[in-house]
Symmetry: none
Subunit: 235 residues, 2 copies
DNA sequence: AATTTTCTTGACACATTCTTGAGACTCAGC
DNA sequence: GCTGAGTCTCAAGAATGTGTCAAGAAAATT
């Protein structure tokens, strides 16, 4: 757009995730003049670099050796709204839909034109002027770090089951707000699953046993009778 | 993403801009079940409909008879951030770059897969999720926050039962206006339930005990004899 | 294949909330 | 003052919601 008058002294940061070194080198050459480039050759490194270097946008290959790109996207969306552009050889409709629905912002098929990529990067950066999610929740002695996927009580790591963590993550994302049973069940077990409020209660109970000082008088996970649960807002 | 907790009662509105009637019909068929569809066959109409109908997203063909799609995009960006997805037969790099830099959010080449289009629509809509409206009612020392589902008296949290909260929520929604017994009963207990005015009175009584300074001389929940109840408007 | 962990289900105790009925109160109009 | 319709409050049983335990099924890990 013509209106963009800002001159960027410190260039925007781009994380390139691809297991093939030539492609990383190619992208570094193509984009390096304009952006600061970070590289990762697998999903694990990518998630790590996201935390340490906080890039402004991610170019992500799907075919990584360890974690699949779609899964990487999903993990990122647990705590950040950073724009993610998928760059993949896979051209099938299902792949695109899966990646976009996992939270990717755009999907480009290899081989691609550098100019188009750069235009799509500009477009993606444009509409992401949104405030970031708070990725660390802290209340008293309880610290929940969504980026590290880790929960600490008195600096002590708390081991949660995947389901327990999911519930807690949703609660943190909407900290302070009431989430109905239905909303939580939908968010954790997906849309198809219906009406298992009991399961939710059991998990909340287990969760409380692990993160509450006194599970009988919960200070963090508050019951809203007849409605759902709420994570006490940061005090 | 599973985390999307919003439940849309009124469907999102999609504006389809294409000069070929078959394509408009095709898109209406494909998307009509999920979205409300508006159509325009040229750029002038499109810009007009944008103002009158305020759609949530625009699917825009480039080859329009009057104004070029890129120009339409540029005009839109002068006053709105509505997501624009270009759908065009043009596959050249320059066209894509021009459209994206004019402010389009995505670019899809005809022929395209419907599933991919729908996934890209979902992705585009995700970007501009509207921030929630904080609906707060305040009257003197009574504060009712519908978003947080929280009622405070003197900054002190008031615990309400689900039914009590429901009644109060309806009253707040129509603050200042008289709601008949029948309207309240219908809103709280649903359509089938009939004629239990006594139940309503008991709940109003309990509600007053919790949120009124002097339940005998209510200042917030006013009785309109023979008609119903009314929440005193913000003073 | 064996082991561990996690998920899911059912049973039960406990707490809260809903609903109902009885009675008291208010305020017109007679 | 009396009557009656409408309103308010209280209290108790019924109904529903919630938390916990434990055991079998399923899944992941070894």
């Amino acid at each position: 757009m013509e209106n963009d008058l800002t001159v960027n002294d410190n260039p925007l940061r781009v994380l390139v995730v691809d297991d093939e070194r030539p492609i990383r080198r190619f992208l570094r050459t193509a984009l390096g003049g304009q952006y600061t480039i970070f590289e990762a050759e697998n999903g694990k490194d990518a998630l790590q670099i996201m935390i340490t270097s906080r890039p402004d946008i991610v170019l992500l290959d799907l075919g990584l050796p360890d974690i699949d790109g779609v899964e990487v996207t999903r993990r990122l969306r647990e705590w950040t709204l950073v724009p993610v552009i998928i760059i993949s050889v896979r051209d099938r409709e299902e792949d695109k839909v899966a990646a976009l629905d996992a939270g990717a912002d755009d999907y480009l098929t290899k081989p691609f034109s550098v100019n188009e990529l750069m235009a799509r990067i500009r477009a993606a950066l444009r509409h992401c002027a949104k405030p970031e999610i708070e990725s660390v929740y802290q209340s008293g002695d309880l610290v929940i770090n969504l980026a590290l996927r880790e929960v600490r009580l008195h600096d002590q790591l708390v081991m949660l089951t995947p389901t327990e963590y999911d519930i807690l993550r949703v609660l943190v994302t909407y900290a302070g707000k009431v989430l109905t049973h239905h909303q939580l069940i939908h968010a954790v077990w997906g849309g198809g699953n219906e009406a298992n409020a009991h399961l939710l209660r059991v998990n909340i109970s287990n969760l409380r046993r692990k993160i509450e000082q006194d599970p009988l008088r919960p200070r963090h996970i508050i019951t809203e009778p007849g409605v759902g649960y709420r994570l006490r807002d940061i005090e």
